[in-house]
């Protein structure tokens, strides 16, 4: 029973830590499936988190915070698109530029607005997304096995967690069952085929990066107004890159990508649990080593375990009519 509860607790933490990854990885997928590398996820998440925390603080409502985050990340996506799609710039450079820009800009504006060393003021309960308790969760809590799964694991998360996991099948449906998805996948593989079919390549790619912006905005908002209660400088701490890694690990497909995010979230949750624990034969593992574990595993998994990840064929290549 003891172990079972521990497992439930770790899985519960897994859901919470993988939520921003799932949203950001899906964001990356929409952009990259259309042929635009989105290394800017990290910076966009930061921008979204900052916009969400600031607006939620001023207006006292998390929904406005979420909308502000999405608006901010759509703007950043359009900036990325302007550089990469309209002006056919280097997509990696544009992405990194946005990351560096947002790391500095969020801190700068934060200090200017709130004078708290780059942080935003702590949000009260009403300005954050609160856990949603499923009906009957308390009554079920004492039922063995099913009880904890229902009341602890499934119930009691904030709305963005549920949105993230509903976004996975929805993204799959959009990608594989709609006209938009067909054209989006086609434009990432062979933009020439899309152009000769009478569809605008530029417009398709812009629409894809806007989808990307919406999803990564939610991911940023989750960090500052759902999981956390304020914006902290560089609070994404590489989650954008991990999400990108999960997307590659998931071979640019929604469900495998979600499982990759869950795996990374799980490693993170386990790492938190292992802090200060005496392992037999090893002794107390240094905190830093534990914290590095997800990243080390990311490298190992990416290097050896996914086989050949086949990227969309035109990924990273601006569309130029050949001559």
């Amino acid at each position: 029973m003891e172990t079972f509860n521990l497992v439930i607790l770790i899985l519960d933490a897994t859901l919470r830590t993988s939520t921003p990854l799932v949203l950001a990885a899906l964001a990356g997928m929409f952009s990259e499936r259309s042929g635009t590398i989105n290394l800017a996820l990290e910076g966009m998440m930061l921008g979204g988190a900052f916009a969400a925390a600031s607006v939620a603080y001023y207006l006292g409502n998390p929904w406005f915070g979420l909308l502000a985050a999405i608006a901010a990340t759509i703007l950043l996506s359009l900036l990325h698109g302007f550089a990469c799609i309209t002006h056919k710039g280097n997509q990696v450079v544009s992405g990194m530029a946005i990351n560096i820009l947002m790391s500095g800009l969020t801190a700068l504006v934060g200090i200017a607005l709130f004078a708290q060393g780059g942080k935003t003021p702590a949000l009260d309960r009403g300005s954050r997304f609160q856990p949603i308790t499923f009906p009957g969760a308390e009554a079920m809590a004492d039922v063995p096995v099913i009880g904890p799964i229902y009341s602890e694991l499934l119930s009691g998360h904030n709305i963005l967690v549920y949105i993230a996991f509903v976004a996975v099948p929805f993204s799959w449906w959009v990608m594989y069952r709609t006209r938009f998805g067909l054209r989006l996948r086609a434009v990432g593989e062979n933009p020439g085929a899309v152009d000769t079919a009478g569809i605008s390549v530029v417009l398709m790619r812009y629409r894809a990066v806007i989808c990307s912006g919406i999803l990564v905005g939610m991911s940023g908002a989750y960090l500052s107004i759902a999981q956390g209660a304020s914006f902290l400088q560089d609070m994404t701490a590489g989650k954008g890159y991990i999400a990108l890694a999960a997307m590659v690990f998931g071979k640019w497909r929604p469900f495998p990508t979600m499982f990759a995010c869950l795996l990374f979230g799980f490693l993170d949750a386990v790492a938190t649990r292992l802090q200060g624990v005496n392992l037999p034969g090893i002794g107390e593992v240094p905190v830093q080593a534990i914290q590095a574990l997800p990243y080390i595993l990311t490298v190992i998994l990416l290097a050896g375990f996914i086989g050949k990840a086949v990227a969309p064929k035109s990924l990273g290549r601006p569309y130029v009519k050949e001559r």
Binding site: R179, E189, T196, A197, G198
Partner: protein, 530 residues
């Protein structure tokens, strides 16, 4: 109905049916290149019209303008007698023009069905349109005998079938006018024949077909009328029955050319290259060359025929030392030089193996280099080019100038960027670099790909001269004409296996075509003999 049109198309102005396509004064420049010079063209409804010209004559540009891929600087387009403003592919599709591009515009991981409906899905959710498309596709397949599995993944199909998907795509969009840009470049002769049968069916159904090619044989075999382009201008319109390949090639080049190469009998001497049970795998571990064994003697040209992608490229690259050999051995003048086991491309060069790679832009030269830099690639450590620790640019320039004069590279400017030479002159420069080293064995891949007719003639003559000078030449080409006219012996490859050998003089195109498709030699000869 088609009868009346047929009689009408000859005179052009009689009859009440307006021409399917009429171009007036189409003009297009790309920077300094004047790709289309005030082109007038009239194509009658229900005919197969050929457009011939050398590479770079402006055929593809003209058709891309018609399909809305580029915009003309001046001129008008009339379709079925109506003035059309075609600004993009969607406009072209709307007036019933479909195009099969030289490089297929297909999404490889998609199914045939998905490729066909892309752009005309018939609803925001795919399900509704897909069922309708499936029925429509079935109908088109039956009507034009274009059998294909709608659920097959396009990337898994052969190029012939991929081309069929492209044709279906155009027909599905309701194309009345079908443009095909160099459609047979990647097909076996049999596949090409099948394509021409399909085109004739299309014509019988009242469609208009425009065939762009530089192969005169196809023009003669498949078209009703033909237009010739040279250097961006339309120089002639002919009825196919009233012209000849000789006249057309003269019009294309502007002077008479030799279509057949004058060469005496080969005088094979000692064995230079001996290949025994050679096997080569690609990066994915798939065996691309399977147990190849053959000899090349001094003083002969051995040609390797095959549809591209059947292992010839890998064989050539392995012999040049750029690919690791998995099994088997290679002997050069009796010495073991099996690549990958301590022998690499540089050592092979030192031992007298020269290599003109198939893709000159990817492997033969660096297009961003100047001609003199390109002319020493691979031989840059030659002491003749060194002065103290630096390169001796004077010596390099002199050598390059000599190569350019010897091989008629134009313009003969060693300081010009390689990219600024035409394909033919680039190839001549690469050939000069390799031949002037006086190698014992010359490996040549696609020596005349993307090369104009004048340069082809020159290159062919130089290859024969190499042979007559007592060198061994191994020639890989997908152009059957080239293989047949140059080779003293022809090896045919299919799926990595050398399926047979034919003496050069005895070669029969149909038999070679069948062997390229994997038919055993005896059977191929028997079938071709009928």
């Amino acid at each position: 109905m088609s009868e009346s049109i047929h009689t009408a198309h000859g005179t052009g102005k009689t009859g009440t049916v307006p021409p399917a396509i009429e171009l007036r004064g189409i003009d297009k420049r790309f920077g300094a290149v004047h790709a289309n010079k005030s082109i007038d063209l009239r194509i009658e409804k229900g005919t197969i019209h050929g457009i011939v010209g050398e590479n770079g004559a402006g055929k593809s540009t003209l058709m891309s303008i018609l399909y809305g891929f580029y915009q003309a600087d001046a001129g008008t387009i009339h379709v079925d007698g109506k003035l059309c403003n075609i600004r993009g592919s969607e406009d072209a599709i709307a007036v019933g023009i479909g195009m099969v591009h030289q490089h297929f515009m297909l999404v490889e991981p998609f199914s045939v069905l998905e490729n066909v409906i892309l752009g005309v899905e018939g609803g925001a959710v795919l399900r509704d349109g897909v069922d309708r498309a499936r029925h429509e596709l079935k109908r088109l397949e039956q009507e034009y005998s274009l059998n294909i599995d709608p659920d097959a993944i396009v990337g898994d199909l052969s190029v012939g079938l991929q081309q069929r998907v492209e044709i279906l795509k155009a027909l599905y969009r309701g194309a009345e006018i079908l443009i095909l840009d160099e459609p047979t470049g990647v097909l076996t002769p049999q596949e090409a024949d099948h394509l021409f049968r399909i085109l004739r069916t299309l014509k019988e159904q009242g469609k208009t077909v425009v065939l762009i090619t530089h192969k005169l044989r196809e023009i003669m075999a498949a078209t009703d009328t033909v237009s010739v382009m040279r250097q961006g201008a339309m120089v002639a319109d002919r009825k196919t029955v009233e012209t000849s390949p000789e006249e057309l090639s003269e019009l294309m080049v502007g002077r008479k050319v030799l279509l057949h190469i004058e060469k005496g009998p080969a005088k094979p001497a000692d064995v230079v290259l001996a290949v025994e049970n050679l096997c080569v795998d690609n990066a994915q571990g798939v065996r691309r060359v399977k147990n190849a064994s053959f000899l090349v003697h001094a003083g002969e040209i051995v040609g390797i025929a095959g549809v591209s992608g059947n292992g010839q490229s890998e064989l050539l690259e392995a012999l040049a030392g750029i690919r690791v050999v998995s099994e088997g051995q290679v002997f050069l003048n009796g010495q073991d030089v099996t690549p990958g086991h301590g022998v690499d491309a540089a050592q092979l060069r030192k031992r007298g193996v020269a290599h003109v790679p198939e893709d000159r832009h990817r492997m033969g030269m660096v297009t961003a280099f100047t001609a003199k830099e390109a002319a020493i690639l691979g031989y840059d450590d030659d002491p003749a080019y060194q002065r103290n620790l630096l390169l001796d640019w004077e010596a390099i320039r002199t050598t390059t100038q000599h190569l350019m004069d010897e091989f008629d590279v134009r313009p003969a400017d060693p300081d010009l960027k390689a990219a600024n030479f035409s394909g033919g002159n680039q190839q001549k420069l690469v050939l000069a670099r390799e031949i002037m080293r006086d190698p014992a064995l010359l490996l040549v891949g696609q020596p005349t790909r993307g090369v104009d007719i004048g340069a082809i003639e020159f290159i062919h003559k130089r290859l024969v001269a190499m042979r007559d000078a007592g060198k061994a030449v191994l020639l890989v080409s997908v152009e059957l004409d080239e293989i047949m006219s140059l080779s003293d012996r022809i090896l045919v490859m299919c799926d990595g296996v050398i399926v047979g050998e034919v003496a050069g003089g005895m070669a029969n195109e149909r038999a070679l075509g069948l062997m390229m498709a994997g038919v055993a030699p005896e059977q191929a000869h028997a079938e071709a003999g009928q």
